[in-house]
């Protein structure tokens, strides 16, 4: 149960010592309540108060790390139902399922293929991170084949406790997620997890059993849990996913305060339909989605969706400031300058590329604002943009002409720019990127 600022204040020493950085204990309490401060900043809080406060300030959905290295995925840790309320923090992990009945060479070839599904976008590397290795006797060998031939992280899927134990040991240091813990075996799975220090996924038969299993596993010493509610139809999987999020955030029910794993692969054999199920569950709260296979046509759309849904709405995506050559420009190709809002970059670069006119596109840091907003906020002013073109960008070393095209919405800065750029011609481009092709085809540098 989250405490209010006043409730927290009563547990603090009340010395107003300022060592935490807040002017008073009350101010510090308010910051704690709104998540803007950490309790550790207070050096004088009593051990009893500390215990009460840390229990109360534990996140409503426990964050759990699955996997290792570049492909580690954080599941849980979310604080809202709708991204516009704050943001979603931990992008859904995307997994493919591999049966251990396949031989090691086949598994090696498959994960080497999976390894290639990586796409650079807005300075981020978009990729699926996980493989679920499912089976029994060959679980350890198959899991080993995955980590030996790729950097993908592993989820183990077996009800054979000995196999699970052997595989968890074989993946020492790789932090696999192991399971399923069920009503029948959860104590044994917990013992394996405690020994190997790895997180556990549980599979319930319904929402009631989720609470039974999370409690049981907690008592058995496993706190890092990921929940499969057992739903195996699209409608039920969606409903359970919403129910889990609501129980944790609205109901503040700790028994449901865990991230989830969903299995589109077990909902339908058809990969296209699995994409629809996964898309639904990425939008609606799943921590991990498991598909039956990967292909670019399958993972790429889901990666784009995940990028969109998990982008922080309060912090616009930005493109790195710099020079972007499009269509192999040379020293007499036109130069365009625009803002670093990622959408602006995508749309402008897309249109320039489609025009087939070789161009230099300069992206100027405007704190992620679009052209009109950046101009209005003074982040795309004439002297600033002029300085950028002339000095910071380095474009003058690449061209032998002196002209630059600015966005139509920033037409007002052309005068100031010309002052900063003596001898240059500042041309005003179209307001809408859609009209760039026509503009560029008629434009000549001077």
């Amino acid at each position: 149960m989250a405490l209010t600022g006043i409730q927290i204040f009563k547990l603090l020493p009340g010395t107003n010592c300022k060592k935490c950085g807040s002017p008073t204990c009350l101010a510090f309490a308010m910051n704690l309540a709104s998540g803007k401060a950490e309790l550790d900043a207070c050096s004088d809080v009593s051990p009893e108060s500390r215990e009460k406060l840390s229990a109360a300030s534990a996140p409503p959905i426990r964050p759990v790390v699955v996997g290792y290295g570049d492909t580690a995925v954080k599941v849980g840790g979310e604080t809202v139902q709708y991204r516009h309320e704050k943001t979603f923090f931990n992008p859904t992990g995307i997994a493919a399922l591999i049966e251990d009945s396949r031989d090691d060479a086949d598994i090696a070839a498959t994960v080497k293929r999976f390894q290639k599904y990586q796409y650079l976008r807005v300075g981020l590397n978009l990729r699926p991170e996980l493989v679920v290795v499912k089976g029994g006797p060959r679980l350890a060998a198959a899991a080993k084949a995955v980590v030996d031939n790729s950097d993908l992280s592993v989820i183990l899927y077996s009800e054979d406790i000995a196999a699970l134990k052997a595989a968890a040991e074989a993946l020492a240091g790789k932090n696999p997620l192991i399971g399923p813990a069920t009503a029948a075996n959860y104590k044994d799975v917990a013992a394996v997890a405690v020994a190997a220090k790895v997180p556990v996924w549980l599979k319930a038969k319904d929402m009631d059993e989720v609470a039974v299993l999370t409690k049981g596993l907690n008592e058995a010493g496993v706190k890092d849990l990921v929940v499969d509610t057992g739903a195996r139809t699209p409608k039920k999987a969606f409903e359970d996913s919403v129910a889990m999020r609501r129980a944790a955030l609205v109901g503040q029910n700790r028994d449901y305060g865990y991230g989830t794993i969903a299995f589109p692969a077990e909902i339908t054999k058809n990969l296209a339909m699995q994409v629809a199920v996964a898309a639904n569950l990425i939008a609606k709260y799943a921590g991990i989605v498991v598909l039956s296979d990967f292909d670019g046509a399958v993972v790429f759309p889901l990666l784009l969706q995940r990028l969109n849904i998990f982008t922080d709405p309060q912090r616009p995506m930005t493109q790195t400031e710099g020079i972007y050559p499009i269509n192999e420009p040379n020293d007499s190709s036109p130069v365009l300058v625009t803002t670093n809002f990622s959408l602006t970059y995508f749309i402008v670069s897309g249109e320039v590329e489609a025009s087939r006119v070789p161009c230099w596109l300069l992206i100027k840091d405007s704190e992620g604002l679009s052209v009109l907003t950046a101009w209005a906020a003074g982040k795309f002013s004439g002297d600033d943009v002029g300085q950028f073109v002339l000095k910071r960008s380095g474009i003058v070393d690449k061209i032998k002409h002196k002209s630059v095209i600015i966005p139509g919405y920033a037409a007002a800065i052309s005068g100031d720019m010309e002052e900063e750029l003596p001898g240059w011609k500042v041309a005003i481009g179209p307001r809408e990127a859609a009209h760039l092709t026509k503009f560029l085809k008629e434009f000549t540098v001077s």
Binding site: T233, R246, N308, G350
Partner: protein
């Protein structure tokens, strides 16, 4: 005690909006999208297919050209094909009227609309090119010529709502009110249209859909906020069903148009585009759409199947769904 989902009480609902002469109902939901444990959903989201009033020519996406082979350049035949593929509604876009393209006028817009109306018996959207003056020219004429035919015309913006809105009102058509991904601007435009006399149930909200990976998230969150305003705050200026023109946003992206051989890591080109369209469609349904305008028939089939699974429940029937080939990578 058995688990009970934490539910929300809503005070408003989305208007039931009958479109076309056929009176196909949009909207009517009383809870957040697909939350049928706490509300009712009398009408599943409807699916339209977008067609052009001219032959799209060279630059058209190859998978779309293939799906509509033989009918491109003939809006009547194209519309018929769209309905055969299962479209509930046909969206005729007046591409040729773009001043940057052929710059055709009212007469051509009327001729194309006539062909579509003659060919199909489903509601018809007549969509301009989002050029405030050109759209007034073409859509005003279309409204007048097809008086009483219950068309849906758009986009109507704060720059041209007076002209197009008045014509739609006078001749009995619904309008698509487009505002730039902003709740307040959407509301303002609806108020302007209602002040003009437009009935609330003759308005659809177009929040200006961004493509998957190209700004979808802005539209997604505006839609969630529109739904919250309509359902939780019962804001009757925002209780109109939402329409998303998503197909063309998908198929104009670079990624949807790269051939399989050029980027094998992106998989089969047709599958890729279709699944991008499906992924965005499912996302927008989760955010509260009532009408999706798609481009590819395979997307429509998958989305339709998914809507049924999502509303009616039950297991997936795998038969007849398109297979995804695994593209080899060297």
């Amino acid at each position: 005690m058995a688990f009970q989902i934490n539910t929300v009480k809503y005070s408003g609902k989305i208007n039931v909006t009958p479109v076309g002469a056929q009176k196909i109902n949009l909207g009517g939901q009383t809870a957040f999208p697909f939350y049928d444990f706490e509300g009712t959903f009398p009408n599943k989201p409807k699916l339209a297919i977008q067609i052009w009033d001219m032959d799209p020519g060279e630059g058209f996406s190859v998978p779309l050209a293939k799906a509509f082979e033989g009918v491109l350049g003939d809006p009547g035949a194209w519309a018929k094909k769209a309905v055969e593929y299962g479209a509930d509604i046909v969206c005729l876009t007046l591409k040729s009227s773009d001043p940057n393209d052929q710059n055709t006028g009212a007469a051509e817009a009327i001729a194309a609309t006539q062909k579509v109306l003659d060919a199909v018996d489903v509601p018809v959207i007549v969509f301009g090119v989002d050029n405030k003056d050109k759209d007034v020219e073409t859509l005003s004429a279309v409204c007048e010529k097809f008086a009483g035919k219950n068309l849906i015309v758009g986009p109507v913006t704060d720059k041209n709502y007076k002209q197009i809105g008045a014509q739609a009102l006078a001749y009995g058509h619904a309008v698509i009110a487009r505002s730039p991904i902003d709740v307040n601007l959407a509301k303002q435009l609806n108020i302007l249209l209602m002040d003009l006399g437009t009935k609330p149930e003759n308005i659809l909200i177009d929040p200006n859909t961004g493509g998957l990976g190209y700004g979808m998230e802005y539209c997604y969150s505006v839609m969630e906020r529109l739904q919250a305003a309509a359902l939780l705050q019962a804001d009757d200026k925002l209780q109109q069903p939402i329409i998303n023109m998503l197909g063309e946003e998908i198929w104009k992206t670079k990624e949807a148009n790269q051939p399989t051989a050029a980027v094998p890591t992106l998989g089969d080109q047709t599958c890729r585009g279709v699944l991008m369209e499906v992924t965005e469609a499912v996302s927008l349904m989760a955010a509260g759409t009532s009408l999706l305008v798609l481009s590819h028939p395979a997307s429509l089939k998958l989305v339709r199947e998914y809507i049924d699974l999502w509303t009616d429940g039950g297991p997936v029937k795998d038969d007849g769904l398109p297979e995804v080939p695994i593209t080899p990578i060297n």
